[in-house]
C-alpha cells in the first residue's frame, strides 16, 4: 500500500466554518445585543417597615390628661346616666364598640382606674384581657391558645416561652375595630421582566412571579 494523501476539505466548507467562527467572535466582541437594562433605583428601606411595635401603645397606668383618675373620681359616688349629656371632660372618647356603649360595662363604678368583672369585683389594667373575656369568650380562648393575637419571644417553653400581646395593643377598647394600615412598598419589577411584560402588552398581569 502506498502512502495515503490526507483527505482534503473543500474550500467553501472550510471558508464557511472559519468565517462562521469569525462572525461569532465579532458578534461577541462588539456586544451587539447590548447589556441588560440597568437596575432601577430602589429607595433605602425605611426602618418602620420592619418595626415590631404594635399598632397601639399600651398605657402603663390609668391617667387622663396626665392626672390619675382618682384625682377627680376618688370617693365620689358613681356618676350616673348618659355621659354625653354631662360631658365636658371625656368628650374626646368616641365609643364605637357595637352595642357595648356604656362606660360601666367596662369601667368599675367605684374604682374608675380599674375595670369591672361579672361579679362587680375589680380587674386591674394589667389583666385587661379578663375584661374583654367577659364578652368575647371564644376570642379570649383563642388568644390563650395562641390562635388570636400575637406572641413574641420564644416558641420554645424551655427558652422562656412566648410572651402574648395584650388585646388593647391592637384594639382601642373604645373603638376596637382593627384600623387600616399603610402597606409597605410593592415589590419592584425587574427591568427585564418589565420589558418582556410590555412586549406581551394586553396580557393580564397576575400569577405570583
Amino acid at each position: 500500500m502506498g502512502a495515503e494523501t490526507p483527505p482534503k476539505i473543500p474550500l467553501w466548507a472550510a471558508g464557511a466554518s472559519v468565517g462562521g467562527f469569525m462572525l461569532l467572535a465579532v458578534f461577541f466582541a462588539t456586544n451587539l445585543l447590548g447589556n441588560a437594562p440597568p437596575n432601577d433605583e430602589i429607595p433605602k428601606l425605611s426602618p418602620e417597615y420592619a418595626d415590631t411595635a404594635t399598632v397601639r401603645k399600651v398605657r402603663k397606668e390609668m391617667t387622663f390628661d396626665g392626672a390619675p383618675c382618682s384625682s377627680c373620681h376618688e370617693g365620689t359616688e358613681p356618676l350616673q346616666g348618659d355621659p354625653k349629656e354631662k360631658g365636658v371632660f371625656h368628650e374626646k372618647i368616641e365609643i364605637k364598640h357595637g352595642r357595648n356603649q356604656h362606660c360601666f360595662n367596662c369601667h368599675h363604678r367605684k374604682q374608675p382606674a380599674d375595670f369591672s368583672n361579672f361579679d362587680g369585683s375589680a380587674i386591674k389594667l394589667a389583666d385587661v384581657q379578663l375584661l374583654c373575656a367577659k364578652c368575647h369568650g371564644t376570642t379570649f380562648r383563642d388568644w390563650n391558645n395562641g390562635a388570636h393575637g400575637r406572641r413574641s419571644g420564644h416558641w420554645d417553653v424551655a427558652k422562656g416561652g412566648p410572651k402574648p400581646t395584650v388585646c388593647i395593643a391592637c384594639h382601642n377598647p373604645h373603638w376596637p375595630i382593627f384600623k387600616p394600615l399603610k402597606a409597605a412598598p410593592a415589590p419592584h419589577v425587574n427591568p427585564r421582566t418589565r420589558a418582556r411584560k410590555s412586549a406581551h402588552a394586553g396580557a393580564e398581569h397576575g400569577g405570583h412571579e
Partner: protein
C-alpha cells in the same frame, strides 16, 4: 452524510491540518470574545473553597474552618464582624407554620422584616415573601396581584402571603441534580450556598414560586447587615445561587420565633413545634379550619392557612 461533505481528493481543497488550524484559531477568538466579561470577576474561589466537601460530609473541624473563612470574608466586605453559627436541628422538634388568612391585612411588614433579618439583596431586590391580593370569594391565584399600594385592606379583597412551604415531599429537593438542597430532620428545606451550581431546576420545580435566584451580586448596605448569621440561613449569599425562606433557622433553632411572626401587626402568623401537642400550631391544626396551598400537587406542606370559625 451527504455527498458534499466527503473529503475531496483532487487537490482543490485545503488540507485538514490547515483547516483545523484556521477553524481552531477562529473558535478560540470567538470563545475569548464571549468570555471577555469574565475578566471583571474579582474574587475567584480560593482553593480550599473550591475543594470543599458537601455540607453533610463536613467534620466539625471542616465546619469551623468554613465558618472562620466566611466570617472573614463578610468582615472584609462589610466591615462588620458577624456572629456566624450553625445551630443544629433540635431533637423532638418539627417546625410548622400557620397563617390566619382572615386576619392578614396585606401590610407587607413581614416581607421587610424578612429582608432585614435574612440579609436579602436590596437591589436587585430579593424577597422571600410575596403577598397576593385576592378577590373575596375567589381562590384563583392567577387573578391575584402583588402590586397594590396605599391603605390596606382594600375593599372586597383578602390577602394571602406565600413563601416556602417547607414541603414534606419537596419537588425542589428531588429536582436538584447536585443535592445542594435537602430537608433537615426538623423539616426545614435548606440550601448549601457553596454547593449550589445555579442551574435553577429547583425554581422550575417549585409549585409555589418560593425560590429566588441571585442573578447579580447581591447588594446590602453595610449598616443594614444583620450580624447574627446562620451558615445554612442568612449569611450573605454569592451571586449565582438560589435562596429562599428557611424559617429563620438561626432564630428558630435557638427557640425564637421567625422574624415574620414577630413583626406581624395583626397576629396572623403562627409558628411552633408540630410534635408538641400543646403548641399553638398543634392547637390550630386541631381546632381551626385549615388548608394547604395546591394540595392536589401532593407536596404535603408544613405551612398551613387557617380561618377562624
Amino acid at each position: 452524510m451527504s455527498e458534499e461533505w466527503k473529503p475531496v481528493e483532487d487537490g482543490t481543497g485545503i488540507s485538514r491540518r490547515a483547516f483545523l488550524a484556521a477553524a481552531a484559531t477562529a473558535a478560540v477568538a470567538a470563545t475569548a470574545a464571549a468570555l471577555a466579561p469574565m475578566k471583571d470577576i474579582a474574587d475567584l474561589p480560593s482553593l480550599e473553597e473550591f475543594l470543599r466537601k458537601h455540607y453533610t460530609e463536613l467534620t466539625p473541624a471542616d465546619k469551623a474552618a468554613i465558618i472562620a473563612r466566611i466570617s472573614e470574608q463578610v468582615e472584609k466586605k462589610y466591615g462588620v464582624k458577624p456572629n456566624l453559627t450553625d445551630p443544629p436541628p433540635l431533637d423532638g422538634v418539627e417546625f410548622g407554620y400557620a397563617l390566619n388568612i382572615g386576619r392578614c391585612v396585606g401590610c407587607r411588614k413581614c416581607v421587610f422584616a424578612c429582608v432585614d433579618e435574612n440579609n436579602q439583596s436590596r437591589n436587585p431586590e430579593i424577597q422571600y415573601i410575596r403577598v397576593l391580593e385576592m378577590k373575596k370569594g375567589s381562590i384563583d391565584v392567577e387573578s391575584s396581584t402583588t402590586e397594590y399600594e396605599g391603605e390596606v385592606p382594600k375593599k372586597d379583597s383578602y390577602y394571602m402571603p406565600v413563601q416556602c412551604q417547607q414541603c414534606r415531599k419537596a419537588p425542589c429537593v428531588k429536582a436538584c441534580p447536585v443535592k445542594a438542597t435537602w430537608q433537615e430532620p426538623d423539616g426545614v428545606v435548606v440550601i448549601d450556598y457553596n454547593w449550589c451550581i445555579g442551574c435553577r431546576y429547583c425554581i422550575a420545580a417549585c409549585p409555589y414560586g418560593a425560590r429566588r435566584f441571585n442573578w447579580q451580586e447581591p447588594h446590602i448596605p453595610a449598616d443594614e447587615l444583620n450580624p447574627e448569621m446562620g451558615l445554612l440561613s442568612n449569611r450573605p449569599r454569592p451571586k449565582g445561587v438560589v435562596e429562599k425562606c428557611h424559617f429563620c433557622l438561626h432564630r428558630t433553632r435557638n427557640g425564637k420565633y421567625p422574624a415574620c411572626v414577630e413583626v406581624c401587626p395583626t397576629g396572623s402568623r403562627k409558628f411552633g413545634n408540630l410534635l408538641d401537642p400543646n403548641s399553638e400550631i398543634s392547637n390550630i391544626l386541631q381546632n381551626k379550619r385549615v388548608y394547604v396551598l395546591k394540595e392536589e400537587v401532593g407536596t404535603l406542606p408544613r405551612f398551613y392557612y387557617y380561618f377562624d370559625i
